[in-house]
Amino acid sequence: MDSPMSRRITSHLLALALVLFPVASTVAHAASLDDVAESGASAHFLRHGYLVKFRHHSDSPGTPNLQVYNSSGKLLYELTIWPSRTSRLFISSVDVGPDNAFAFAGQVVRDDDTKTNFIASDHLGHTAPQYIATHGYLASQISMADDGSIWAVGDKPSDDALLKSGSSVPNYDTLRHFAPDGTLLDHLMKRWGDGITFVTHAADPAFVTGHLSDGSVNPTPVESLTHSYRDAWKPASDIYLRTHGTSAFLYDGRVTSEPGHTQPTLIESDAATKTNSLRYVTPLQSVYVPQIADLSISANGDIYSHQHITSDSSVAASVGLFKLLSEKDGTQSHWQLVPNSLNEGSQESSAPSVASGGPLSKVTPLCSPETYPCLAYDYYRSVTFIGVPTGANHNFWFVETLYGAPYVTDAGPSIASCSPVSACGYIERWILPGTVGHYAADNITLATLWFNSGYTTLNCTKVGALYTAATIWPTTIAYHLTGPNSNTYAFDMGTAGGFTVPTPPASPGW
């Protein structure tokens, strides 16, 4: 925090927040600082006038894992969160509420390797957090409301093993509202969709089968990880949980080609009126890029975002402030640029003030060279027949996007078996976290690296474009044994990212 860069950016952030959101209930998390690359550390963010930084992963009791600074950048509190009998700790999310209250959530791994998910609350300066066990539910992002209650969005990771073992798992709500004493006040948003009572694993391990209350089976399998809130703690998740008054707002910026998910959504749940509403949000660009770096609610309830706008021809991002406006029917909203707030094409840009039109502060784009290296690797491996190489290669991509989350994206024929039907359907793509793709052999430790983009921040826009192209890959491109095929997909991804990838060897369809 003492480097000139960090001091400069801190002051920029504070200025931005104080001008825009003088009494904001929440301020977003995506401002970047030079030490964000610190292993497992969150980005800094502002909450109720405090600048907060915490460490997601801790494995020793003696290391502080939460720092709170005042608006001048002075360190006020350095806390070590470490429940008893802990061997490892994962903090997914931290939020500071009014009156110095703060909350955090995550998972404790005990000495005996058992895991406990929790939400906890305390007051700054006080050192006795109250832990609330959330059992199988892991809150991946929380927001503390003005009344001290805590909203959480999350997932049940332990269901994975149950499904894999053949067990059924009940449906559950992903958005939850806890009273300050831990009482569960409300819960909504079914993980596996409305009407589903429980799910079992499907033939394809990437899917589950939903079972309805009348005993029938939902004819449409649900892709296991799609629309999960498990990764909502990651800054690049494009998921923002915010509170204002008695309401919680959950913005989900993820977009896929599936019906109902082609636009970002904003869900509002009002604890006072017990009403929920859904709005679709028209994205700024036709080609989706995870571009919201900050989402906040002002004192009067207006929703603002700090967004980056990229173009195919420019690596540098434009930065602007946007206000969310509802359209007449109330089900659709769109972002409107705050006048004079757009700064184009610089990596450290000057965002003019909303009120005066004059300079406000400098902000660092999400993909700044100082903090967020990205990479994209193309791998190939031979397709085999009874373990014997056929000599023909299949390509897939390994990418680390903003904030370093690694993914493998690969493709293949859309249906498990082309026989006895007469067609293999379309080219289906998968985007899976980690280093192994949909096909077990699409493993970066086993395959051959063909193209290396380099691990540099200069790649972030390109990698983002590649990732976006993968996300919006349509389900209309027919797969055929002579091509188009998975290599066609891999080629298109490289092209979308603007990478000049030499033709990989023995890769028809590229």
Binding site: Y380, R381, S382, V383, T384, F385, I386, G387, V388, P389, T390, G391, A392, N393, H394, G412, P413, A416, S417, C418, S419, P420, S422, A423, C424, Y439, A441, T448, H480, L481, T482, N485, S486, N487, T503, P505, A506, S507, P508, G509
Partner: protein, 321 residues
Amino acid sequence: MTKRRLQLTAIASIAFTLFFAHSRCDAQTGAEVRAASVLLKQFEVVAYAKTEFLSGSEPQGGAEVDAESHLRLPFLALIGSLRYLGKTTESGIEESYSSVVVGARDFISPQGLGMVNSSTCYIGILKSGAQPNVETYFRQATHESIEGRQGWTWSVPPYEGYPKPTKFYAAQIADSYFVLSNNLQDFQAVTTSLTAPEGATAAFTGVPGWTAFSAQNYWLYRSVRRSGAIDPDAAGTSVLTPDVSAIFFFADPGKRQGTLRVLSSDTTMKTKPNVLPDSELSRLQSQGAGTWQAILPLAKDEPSFDAMFHLFYFLGYGIAI
């Protein structure tokens, strides 16, 4: 052309003319001809290769681009199933047998990525003067009676594109042949044919151009069956130019060149069959009414590789990548 191949050509031509009533040529060649005859009757695709080519042509790592590597595709089930039993099993068979003929039919697509599969039967032809000693290579398999014939069975666990184990059947037949199949009915039919009196099986009816391709060290013939396909996409018949009735491909491995012949019921020769990529279609030239021919380079470059990848799909060996 080598003396050896001239001999084969002459022998095959005579055999074709006499409907292979009884081959008077040397034992090895006669065995090859008979093996091919048996398979040509029962299968849609039949291919032939020397074992020395199969043992010496495996791609070394995925970085190699070699159009010739496609010539191995009809023989991968043989190589893979033997290799599963041990390296010595594979090498032992390759050392004891001079050539292999394979028949394939009922093509099916893989589940996901993988190569098109089929009901397949291989016949290995014992080297001249060699003593069959197959037992020593099959210690890892089960020696048992297969429908009254002593042989070996074993199962290969699920492999890429095929989530279920595959059972293989193998036997040494009449001190001349080694038969291996992934289909019990085919195994029985082929072994029965090979043990029948030679006059009962030696007939190549309906196989035009036999003399041209049978003299080669490598050949592949497909008599296109348009009805009854289990999976027309896997078989290639869903997209193959409708008038194509047969496809021949032959080559001399190592010389980096192959010859493709396509027989068509369309004698106007207006439309070139789509057995090659669009970029390579200009290689197809009319050879008279109903016959197209192309000379294909088997080079170590991408265009040659892609052309063979495309062609072998229409020969029953497509690869889902």
